[in-house]
């Protein structure tokens, strides 16, 4: 279980994350929503070690992770994908996967053997198949389509066998149809891999349709959390977020 307790981070006077306390049960699927600047990405950056929290605890299965470096946190089982696909442009899909498994098996500094190592093969293969990238294995990452780059980014997190997978806007920059395909993929992965998935998403239709649990962030604080029905009826959420959006849509 991933437990966040009293997590805070300020930039100058701005409280980007303000006393956030949350639990993510094993095998849960949670959507994090909130207006721009609500602190969603900061929240992810704190959990994954990209930013050091000012205060608070991050416990994964009882192990304190707050303040540790990104590689350490990854090794404890928290993988992440990025809002803008973060990949290795000059490596092929397959090389990316093989090299990542190498790193996960603590063989990233092996000098006396040749890449790729045979023992990394099965896991790399498995991840490529899960994400539907197997047929593009020899494509150089930079030449992949936007959607495939996003998939590769997720594959790069998933190939490390994380306990918790954090997806920062998996559908960012996609058309409506592609969004649904991506989100179906995310749901499929969650069901198949039985891991904890937390994702940030802007599209309310998607969020309400697929996420069993929703967390609403606003000005760095948790405004509400609960099932889609609870969130839809929550006055504070309607005022701060949904209401304005619906209003804008009406205009």
């Amino acid at each position: 279980m991933l437990e966040i307790c009293g997590l805070s981070k300020s930039f100058g006077g701005v409280k980007a994350t303000d006393d956030v306390t949350l639990d993510f049960a094993d095998g849960s699927l949670t959507a994090v929503i909130g207006p721009n600047g609500a602190g969603k990405s900061t929240f992810f950056n704190l959990i994954t070690g990209a930013l050091r929290p000012d205060a608070g605890q991050i416990l994964l299965d009882g192990v304190e992770l707050a303040g540790r470096s990104p590689p350490e946190i990854v090794r404890h089982g928290i993988g992440r994908a990025f809002q803008v696909a973060s990949i290795f442009p000059s490596l092929t899909v397959q090389e990316t996967m093989l090299a990542a498994v190498c790193a996960d098996q603590r063989r990233a500094s092996v000098l006396h053997r040749r890449f790729p190592l045979p023992e990394t093969r099965d896991r790399a293969e498995h991840a490529m198949e899960l994400l539907g990238l197997a047929s593009k294995r020899n494509r150089v990452a930079a030449t992949l389509s936007h959607g495939d780059q996003k998939l590769l980014d997720i594959a790069l997190a998933l190939v490390l066998d994380p306990k918790v997978l954090l997806l920062d806007e998996p559908t960012a920059g996609m058309g409506t149809e592609e969004r649904w395909r991506m989100i179906d993929k995310v749901r499929e992965l969650w069901e198949k891999q039985k891991i904890t998935v937390v994702f940030i998403e802007h599209d309310m239709d998607i969020v309400f349709k697929i996420a069993p649990k929703i967390v609403v962030l606003c000005y760095g604080r948790i405004l509400a959390s609960g099932t889609p029905d609870e969130i839809r009826r929550n006055e504070a959420v309607i005022d701060a977020y949904l209401g304005t959006e619906h209003h804008e849509a009406a205009v």
Binding site: S86, P89, S90, L91, T92, A103, S109, P116, P118, N138
Partner: protein, 339 residues
């Protein structure tokens, strides 16, 4: 861009033990053939000039290829890599002059000195990014150069290490014999290139490529980026140091120019000439630069202008090194044939 594809080609389709192994055998075979060709050169020609040229290519080639491990493979553009070339030359010369140990012992001692110095300097430098890394490495280069100039009692100051470096025979190898020196240099070159090739194609080599492409992402895959950068910084320094040792053996001395920033500049120039996306690019660049140097200086004293024009041609006209250009041409042709 797709060096990966170039080197793996169709073999990536089947990641197998045999694939990776046969690649290594292929490299060893190429190295053996190259060494045989180089070693038989003295039988075909008695030109001392040509043999000297190959010795200089060995020294600069090891240096430039090791720089490419930083620039091309890791994305660390060092402007001070030449300091380890100088350190190798001076370290070897001083150990030989002061202690009178055998040549292999002096070699190992110099490598150990380089290891210590490179670890200290690297620990400071590789924390920095891009231009800051470049300038701090340059600063360390100047520091070492001024130390050599001002510590006259040890280094001979601007006169360099004079009086010759002793070359006692070992294991039947007599480096005061020009032919022995030639074969010895070729052997060091081939072994050095083979080792660097192994580094480039090892899992660690791919860790370096990940760092070059996207260091932040590499750390989220679980890679300790700082440690990896420091490791390659030190390894590259060791090979540059061997280049410096060959140079010291060749001229039987060491001079402050070996540690001056222009050596680093030539290293960068060589990498631009030959290209950084193929393993042998810097080696091709070395040969090109030395030929250019030798021929141009014969015709004009303004050889700097000519070299400048050549570098402009490569930087602005071709926008890549010769081997990059050749490889891209080859890849395009291959793709067209495949349809």
């Amino acid at each position: 861009m797709s060096e990966a594809q170039a080197e793996q080609g169709a073999s990536t389709l089947n990641v197998s033990r045999t694939g990776a192994k046969s690649q290594r055998y292929r490299d060893v075979l190429i190295a053996l053939i190259a060494f045989t060709v180089l070693a038989s050169l003295p039988m075909l020609t008695s030109s001392k000039f040509l043999l000297d040229f190959v010795i200089r290519c060995s020294a600069y080639g090891l240096f430039a290829t090791s720089l490419n491990l930083l620039v091309g493979y890791t994305g660390l553009t060092s402007f001070g890599h030449g300091m380890f070339f100088g350190l190798g030359a001076y370290g070897y010369g001083l150990v030989m002059q002061k202690t009178g140990v055998s040549i292999p012992v002096a070699f190992v001692a110099t490598l150990l000195i380089t290891l210590v110095v490179a670890t200290v300097i690297g620990a400071i430098c590789v924390r920095l990014k891009e231009i800051y890394f470049a300038f701090v490495t340059l600063a360390f280069q100047m520091l070492i150069h001024s130390t050599i100039l001002s510590w006259v009692s040890l280094t001979g100051g601007d006169q360099g290490l004079r009086g010759g470096i002793p070359r006692p025979a070992f294991l039947g190898i007599d480096l005061s014999n020009h032919l022995h020196l030639y074969i010895f240099s070729c052997a060091l070159l081939v072994i050095g290139l083979l080792l660097m090739r192994q580094i480039a194609q090892s899992p660690f080599g791919y860790t370096l490529r990940m760092i070059r492409d996207n260091a932040a992402r590499a750390s989220f895959v679980g890679i300790d980026v700082y440690r990896a950068k420091l490791t390659i910084f030190v390894l590259a320094a060791l090979f540059a140091s061997v280049g410096g040792m060959i140079m010291a053996l060749f001229v039987s001395g060491a001079y402050p120019e070996f540690a001056y920033w222009t050596i680093s500049g030539e290293g960068i120039f060589i990498n631009m000439l030959g290209g950084v996306t193929t393993f042998l690019g810097p080696m091709v660049g070395t040969v090109l630069l030395l030929i250019l140097n030798d021929t141009v200086t014969r015709f004009t004293e303004y050889h700097g202008i000519v070299l400048g024009i050549v570098i402009l041609f490569f930087a602005i006209g071709l926008r890549k090194g010769l081997m990059d250009f050749a490889y891209e041409w080859y890849a395009q042709r291959r793709d067209r044939e495949r349809g």
